[in-house]
């Protein structure tokens, strides 16, 4: 995000509270803003709601023998990443630069033991901010699971997302959102990633693509037709994601005021315009508007508006939604031609949508933001082309870092344990092989 000024102030105070005890005491004396805190608590719950939403979205898209295993990919992230976040994730993400700024560290954040009474300058208790950010850390690795659905060992998945969260998510989050992160300070007013276009969606999408290619296809893909077992739960999941996204985007203002309203409006409009665009494209291309297409459009729009929600006006959100659906739809057609098995289109939607949003937003930035950037620039001027360069660099860094580190982690982990399911386990289904359960009772096999 680049967060708007309010957000920068919060981080300034965070930084101060790390460096000097006087600042810490000042922070402790800040009164709680009950309005902002109430909205941030709500947002935290809304972002958590996206995880079961994602579980349903993905769970409905796989075959019936894999439904529980796929749902467990999302739920396992709620357990694993919450614990890691409390132990070290928050410190690595929002501590002060260590190792030349590779990630952050702050001993008070280790095990969250030193923030018991901290209140941020915005009047929000630091615990709320920690938990809010922790939800983003949970959903990001869960998004990757869509790329290698139906063919990964549960144990290897758990280790993979733990390592990925530590070595990919936390550094990226630090670079983009911490006040001393290098992407946060790029250009006149930083790289714009309001709620996680690069940190969450590009990193998850690109990592998913790398993992899908590294692990190889599912048995029978693409010759055997592999169809969703239950589009009803997929649609319900997409609906929960849309609702939860208001916490994701509007909550990223870390306040309850004007910027919250701006982000919320942009979010609603982009999701709607992208969903409509997707079914119009389908109407021309396939002759029918599918439910899955509408859901895919919702996600494409929400993903693309994620980095943009804080800086674009409603007409910008409308256009970003339209472009996002066109590009994501094309990306999925290209995938079908190329033949790699990104099973649930984690890259096609999150990777492509995230990149589209992070770059396109440049053309719709509200004038007041550009004026502030010009003021902050040493030359006194700042054009959209300057900002586009900053955005492109941030996207490039996220893509390269996520791709390389994911490959390294997969390669290393595969030396210790086999990541891809054995053929027999894959045929029997993840539910039976790794969980000893079945999702449905007496239904016909799919």
């Amino acid at each position: 995000m680049i967060m708007k000024t309010g957000m920068k102030r919060i981080f300034a105070i965070l930084l101060l509270s790390v460096c000097g005890s006087s600042a810490l005491i000042a922070a402790e004396n800040t009164p709680v803003d009950t309005g902002a805190t109430a909205w941030m608590l709500t947002s935290t719950a809304l972002v958590l709601l996206m995880v079961p939403g994602l579980a349903m979205f993905y769970g409905g898209l796989v075959r019936s023998k894999n439904v529980l295993g796929t749902i467990m990919h999302s739920f396992a992230a709620m357990g694993i990443i919450s614990v890691l976040w409390m132990v070290a994730g928050y410190s690595m993400s929002f501590g002060t630069n260590v190792l030349g700024g590779l990630f952050g560290w702050n001993k008070d954040y280790f095990l969250l033991k030193g923030i018991d009474t901290n209140i941020l300058e915005s009047g929000v208790p630091e615990y709320v901010f920690t938990m809010f950010q922790g939800k983003f850390a949970i959903i990001t690795p869960a998004l990757i699971a869509g790329a290698f659905a139906e063919r990964i060992s549960f144990k290897a998945y758990c280790f993979f997302i733990a390592l990925w969260s530590l070595f990919v998510y936390n550094p990226l989050c630090h670079w983009v959102w911490a006040s001393d992160g290098f992407l946060f300070n790029l250009g006149a007013k930083g790289a714009i990633d309001f709620a996680g276009g690069t940190v969450v969606h590009i990193s998850a999408g690109v990592s998913g693509l790398v993992a899908a290619i590294y692990l190889g296809s599912r048995r029978g893909y693409p010759y055997q037709v592999i169809r969703p077992n239950n589009l009803v739960i997929t649609m319900l999941g997409a609906g929960l994601l849309w609702v939860g996204w208001f916490g994701f985007n509007a909550g990223s203002s870390i306040s309850s005021g004007l910027s919250t309203a701006q982000a919320l409006t942009a979010t609603q409009i982009a999701a709607a315009s992208a969903a409509l665009t997707w079914i119009v494209i389908e109407g021309f291309h396939q002759g029918k508007a599918t439910a899955l297409g509408f859901a895919s459009g919702i996600l494409a729009g929400l993903v693309a508006v994620t980095p943009a929600a804080g800086v674009v006006q409603p007409y910008g959100a409308l256009l970003i939604g339209i472009f996002a659906s066109v590009l994501c739809y094309l990306a999925i057609q290209v995938k079908n031609r190329l033949g790699y098995d990104d099973s649930l289109d984690a890259f096609g939607i999150h990777g492509v949508g995230g990149m589209a949003g992070a770059l396109l937003l440049t053309f719709f930035i509200r004038p007041s933001w550009m004026a502030e950037a010009a003021g902050a620039s040493p030359t006194g001027s700042w054009t959209i082309w300057n900002q586009l360069g900053v955005q492109a660099l941030a996207v490039g860094v996220a893509v390269a870092y996520a791709a390389i580190m994911t490959l390294v982690l997969l390669y290393g982990l595969n030396k210790i344990m086999k990541i891809k399911s054995e053929e027999a386990d894959e045929m029997a289904g993840l539910d039976r092989s790794y969980h000893g359960e079945r999702g449905y009772g007496m239904v016909n096999p799919s």
Binding site: R219, G220, M427, A428, R432, G436, M442, N444, P445
Partner: protein
Amino acid sequence: MKLITAIIREVQLDKVREALIETGINRITVSLVSGNGRQRIEEMYRGLTIVPDLIPKIRIEIAVNDESVEKAVQTILKSAKTNGPEGSSGDGKIFIIPLEDCIRIRTGERGPSAI
């Protein structure tokens, strides 16, 4: 004409279907059934070992002309067996019964050519 009914393990469906298609038998009907046979399985439910009364199985029905019966049977035998050449309890059974007639609904044609 014969009607072949094979009860097989759920997990072998892909293998059996692929093998049948490879030998040129691609007109099959598949359904999920549950049954009780010699196989005994143990499952865990909340830490408790339980033995389900009915075990889920797949039923495959194939109507074939007499000359294809042996080919179909051998293909199923080969592809439905687990645990190497010995096989294991629960691999399933094959039933073959005479088929009195076969009628293609679209054209009304009868007999072996309708299969």
